[in-house]
Subunit: 448 residues, 2 copies
């Protein structure tokens, strides 16, 4: 066995994940030396709260309260940013790259919103900017997409990438409780933050989808333009009814190419037909209960892909948490170190030009679940069906539930055959103008 | 973007998988150039059947019928062995390594049975010997274990790694048919070979487990010593009864450390307690139906791991087939090429010394399903329970089914609490001597 080469590592932020990374680096040093023939030496940990850094087991003389000491330390080759947030993290990462350090981060918000500049800086300086832990936590997903599936054009990617939302929806499903009660429970158990909006409004899933788009579809997007719907308006009755129809409700990050690639049975001896489009969206979605993704419950994550060579794949595991996330961060550090030992490290960069144009959601085609709360007069069902039909929306199943016999209120729930989203929204707009409607209609996409 | 560097590739064998690799290399050349900044040039394809090579779309002047032309071609840096079998493949791979070529193969039998020599040769010559496609086909499993989970000691790995067996068992379960009928159906559909013994007797799963042991547990084993049980003796009645008990039957490749690591809730700030042992075994196994692995049906593969940092992970996808396997082979080629471009390639090698000793199966501890066919006399149940109890085997559930009222034959089926396998086999040996027994008892391990 070759003599291991020592690589200096600096850590900025020793909170939940950063502290876990320090612990893993300190306790797994021998294991990684044995496996990768590199010796990862955690030389410096920067944290404003010294006690927090000390608790990781790092030697007291390796703690600083100034991130600049880490960035400027000539012994350090790899800087790990784990302070979170966007603005200060941007300063830290860009300072590290300008100082010639490879960077590892778990910060999806930073990369999705300001990654363009940072990757450009990394490319200019021929440095790695690695971010395995930023999507789906401990699951080696980015590695698998980037290297394992390198020969594939994906036609779709569906991801449960936010554990908070998945926990809330799983509890609503299992216990029949409301969104508000489930959120409260998640907050009590530490699965949701005091201000949960980044999670429950889908923004966190959106950050992850933006990065997945770049990695899996060679398409870097302008984050604010991403279509995002959260789970705040999901009603327990929709979960009950769709469960009765055979579906499980999940918040999904969805990417689908348009047109879809030809089936593999026709062989693969052809190039992609012309420049394609890509639908990117975060939205509540219904999955048939037999779909393996439907049984991913609680705070777990899973991502299902379809490649034109490899066909279906699924990656499943812990999407968050101190140690699972640290596992992914340390895998990035070890990979860079190994490359440094055996030649030069070469990171991943966003594509020089995008492979796909982003398609507007009005062109999206899928099956839909719709719910209309109505004043139950005679003829209402007929009018609903007529309006939908006029907009080319064909009904697959329809159920009317009596909500309140005294008030004469009913819920009309239906699933459609494949339909164009623009047609659906026009039909809904027309239905919304009807005086028999009582409250906002609900639309949930069926992704199966 | 940097100018791509051209890397010469030679392919030996253009059958099902080899032909797929040629097609993928030819049609995905631009895609890989764009993603990895390397240009993979398939310079030569060796096949005894020229027509087969021609069908892949390779230029006629790039076909040879002599593998030595590929191995000795100075323009070729990476040789891909896809002829299968052990003896000739050994000659091909060792010749390529001796000629200074990096090698990619999908040949699990070759590596599990004679990999020791080949990896030593690769290490001596500082070459890569890559084999992503050899286990779980298109799933980027080895990459994930080797790099993604590098910071983890695994405590267990359970794999459905043979699509033929999984197809046969899935059909037996879904249709209630016998093993023989299900095998015949699998053969008619091309999911099983004319001589299916390597698959159904578990040897193929064993080859894969041997490689997984080296990658995931740093333990290289002597293949003939591996404990392997196939599915030939599985009776449809056992599938029906265990299904009634809430289980699904799968052929699993199983690796478990002994003792298991302490729970992560105690933190990870400790080294492994002393030198551990490793159970390695291929055997029919019962999984609770709610286990995600239980719903992996048909010819699909899945591998579930438990790491002491990352906790549970699952990898799922196509374990075989022309294109899924080619996807994995090409990912290996691209990874080597990228390393060649940016420094030096450094492959994976078996551990210099093993991390675990292999534990004998008599020390295995799990829950068991047992079936005894008996002549139904009074007192039989009591004797069975007494013998089991004397051997420290505690019964969790017991069911007696009337097989044939005329002959007075019954099946006594039971599941045990956690028990030591040595105790179970002693109890079974004692029960087998009883004159009320009608036929061989069945033992199936519950892995959950």
């Amino acid at each position: 066995m070759a003599e291991p080469v020592t690589i200096g590592v600096g850590l900025i932020g020793s909170g939940v994940v950063g502290g876990g990374v320090a612990e893993v680096l300190l306790t797994r040093r021998d294991l990684i030396r044995q496996r990768a023939e590199v010796d990862l030496d955690l030389l410096l940990v920067a944290d404003k709260e010294r006690e927090r850094a000390l608790a990781t087991g790092i030697a007291p003389d390796r703690i600083t309260d100034d991130y600049r000491s880490v960035v400027s330390d000539p012994r350090i080759s790899i800087v790990v940013e784990l302070i979170g947030g966007v603005n200060l993290a941007y300063d830290v990462v860009s300072a590290a790259l300008r100082a010639g350090k490879h960077v590892v981060t778990a910060n999806k918000a930073l990369l999705a919103e300001r990654g363009g500049d940072l990757f450009a800086l990394a490319r200019t300086n021929n440095l790695c900017l690695s971010f395995e832990a930023s999507v789906a936590g401990g699951i080696p997903l980015l590695l698998s997409l980037r290297e394992g599936l390198i020969a594939n054009r994906l036609s779709s990617l569906l991801g449960i990438v936010n554990g908070t939302c998945n926990y809330i929806l799983s509890e609503m499903t299992a216990k029949g409780i409301s969104f508000a009660d489930s959120l409260k429970e998640a907050q009590n158990l530490g699965f949701a933050e005091a201000d949960p909006s980044t999670d429950i409004d889908g923004k966190d899933s959106g950050h992850k989808l933006a990065l997945l788009s770049a990695l899996a579809f060679d398409t870097w997007i302008d984050f604010p333009s991403l279509h995002i719907e959260g789970i705040r308006n999901i009603q327990d009755s929709d979960i009950k009814i769709t469960s009765f129809l055979g579906y499980t409700l999940k918040l999904l990050a969805v990417a689908r190419t348009d047109p879809p690639p030809p089936p593999i049975s026709q062989g693969i001896n052809q190039e992609l037909p012309g420049p394609g489009r890509l639908f990117l969206s975060v939205h509540p979605s219904l999955l048939r209960k037999s779909n393996p993704m439907a049984s991913v419950s609680g705070s777990l994550n899973a991502v299902e892909t379809n490649g034109d060579v490899v066909m279906e794949s699924m990656f499943y595991g812990r999407g968050a948490g101190r140690y699972p996330t640290a596992s992914a961060v340390v895998s990035d550090i070890a990979a860079i170190a190994k490359n440094l030992r055996y030649g030069g490290a070469r990171g991943w960069f966003p594509p020089a030009s995008n492979s796909y144009q982003i398609a507007p959601m009005e062109d999206y085609r899928t099956r839909y679940y719709l719910r209309f709360n109505v004043h139950d007069r005679s003829g209402v069902l007929g009018i609903l069906a007529t309006i939908l039909g006029r907009h080319h929306v064909s009904i697959a199943a329809m159920h009317q539930f009596e909500d309140d016999p005294n008030d004469n209120l009913a819920s009309v729930c239906l699933s459609t055959h494949l339909a164009r989203e623009g047609d659906i929204t026009q039909a809904i707009a027309e239905i919304t103008r009807m005086d028999f409607l009582a409250g906002e209609p609900a639309l949930i996409r069926i992704e199966d």
